[in-house]
Symmetry: C2
Subunit: 307 residues, 2 copies
């Protein structure tokens, strides 16, 4: 079982608007509402690929209740610890080809609620081979929250993948996660390194390993990704230059890498899977959705070269 | 007691964003959530002016639950008939001085739910002197829904104010409401009349009375309003040229007019109150909020002239 941890779950609201009338009232004829937060999207993709996922996180208030209901409808097992605060919403405004996201910061989580989460997490680790820890930390949690969870997973014999940025990523590195998966902007911000060329990104991936990660994947949007572990460093190119839903693409990449970890397959096979999964997800407007037919087509066309 | 009917209640979400980064992720550091829909705003203003209001409408799903909780916190009595559909949200995006609204259409209301509402409404009419019927109709309700409610109010001895547009307003006129309060854009769209000058608007107000309304108030934004009933036609000018939250202003105008009806005061006194209330509400970013000190200051400065 792959356990996905989403400490800052969200109710993702999508508004489709033909053309926004700025400063005035816009009637939204078509909208969607879905439980979100990166880890929930990862769990959906894991399930689409035929593996079993379990969702863990926090939920509170009326928005938390809506998230619980929506996750229940998806059929994925979930353990969302109740909190006093109100879970956050995100609003995605889709006009033609452009999507603009508005993300609330999320509720304050108390020390007691964080302790209760760690207890739930320890129980879930008993049946779990891989843990994916994704997204931002809600206010109130310590910056080393992911580091704590990575260490506890290792003690329980589970492998870990961390997909976050900033101080949360920095602290997580010190706990030696099996894979970290920042994007090129996040690694540039954290390391202070220029990452314009593939060689720079490869150096940044090695820097992440020096800082503690056993494996590092840096996604580069339409330029593909760089992956590096003990066995080598690879430059992966997508089948063609694609643009689209980048949130969904990053979560599909994490899901494919987690499946590779669970199956115990050595790189670069899972890296190629991840590129194809990311490319297939990019084409869906809804994060967590992957078209399996597109995935199979892209998988044959992915190019990998040693860096 | 003033009964405010909001058939399409909403959860109003406000996002404050310094400057929107289009096509990317915007973190919303400050947001507000409040029960809304025009009638709920009217009830808040009525209460602020020291009168008693009761809210009636529909609520469904997790969003409906959030609306119920929020209305309960306000302390205003409410009777929201439970529906199977999910209540709507609105998102107001405030960047600097510009506010852009995104309004979901609202849930489908079934014939049985509409019948249950009419039963609740009839009971509430027993203690009620004035009914304010505001806003759009949710999908599923007949276009003459407001006409039905206006007739039933008159049978119960209550006065009525209707604030809506399009077919819902057209049908309501035939039921002879005591006051209708469209804005200049709404009356232009409905009547097909040009309403650029004050004289045109005065003619449109008389047209509304010919069509069935006993009194008509047409709001003109920063240009003030025109009011017309059996006793005369007045042109009202705001104390100064103001711009701001027009939704809130319209609802404050309706509240002041409803209070005038309840107190049995002849026009143009309540018209002058309504101009001052609208101007005071314009300055608050939150619909339903009126600064009473600003109201009193503006009230002394309002100018009224016979048209």
């Amino acid at each position: 079982m792959i356990l996905t941890v989403t400490l800052n779950v969200a109710l993702d609201i999508t508004y489709h608007v033909e053309r926004v009338d700025w400063g005035h009232v816009n009637r939204v004829a078509r909208h969607g509402t879905r439980a979100g937060g990166k880890g929930i999207n990862v769990a959906r993709v894991v399930t689409t690929f035929g593996h079993t996922a379990t969702i863990a996180g926090f939920a509170g208030g009326a928005t938390g209740e809506a998230i619980r209901e929506e996750v229940s409808r998806s059929g994925i097992a979930h353990h969302l610890v109740a909190i006093a605060g109100e879970s956050r919403r995100t609003v995605a405004l889709v006009e033609g080809g452009r999507t603009t996201l508005f993300n609330e910061l999320g509720p304050e989580v108390s020390p007691d609620e964080w302790a209760e989460f760690r207890e739930t997490y320890s129980k879930l680790l008993r049946d779990c081979g891989v843990v994916v820890l994704s997204g931002s930390l809600p206010p109130g949690l310590p910056a080393d929250a992911y580091a704590v969870l990575v260490r506890r997973a290792r003690e329980a014999g589970a492998l870990t993948l961390v997909d976050t940025e900033g101080p949360a990523l920095e602290h997580a590195l010190a706990a030696h996660p099996d894979v970290v998966k920042p994007n090129v902007h996040e690694i540039q911000a954290l390391s202070g390194r220029e990452c314009a060329e593939a060689n720079d990104v490869a150096a940044a991936a090695r820097w992440l390993r020096d800082a503690g990660a056993r494996g590092a994947v840096i996604t580069r949007g339409a330029d593909g990704m760089v992956a590096s572990n003990d066995e080598g460093t690879w430059l992966g190119l997508p089948p063609e230059r694609l643009t689209g839903n980048e949130t969904g693409a990053g979560d599909a990449v994490a899901a494919a890498l987690a499946i590779g970890l669970e199956d115990g397959r050595p790189w670069p096979g899972p890296v190629a899977d991840a590129i194809a999964a990311g490319a297939a997800a990019l084409m869906s407007p809804v994060a967590g959705d992957v078209d399996l037919e597109a995935y199979r087509r892209f998988r044959r066309l992915v190019r990998l070269q040693e860096a």
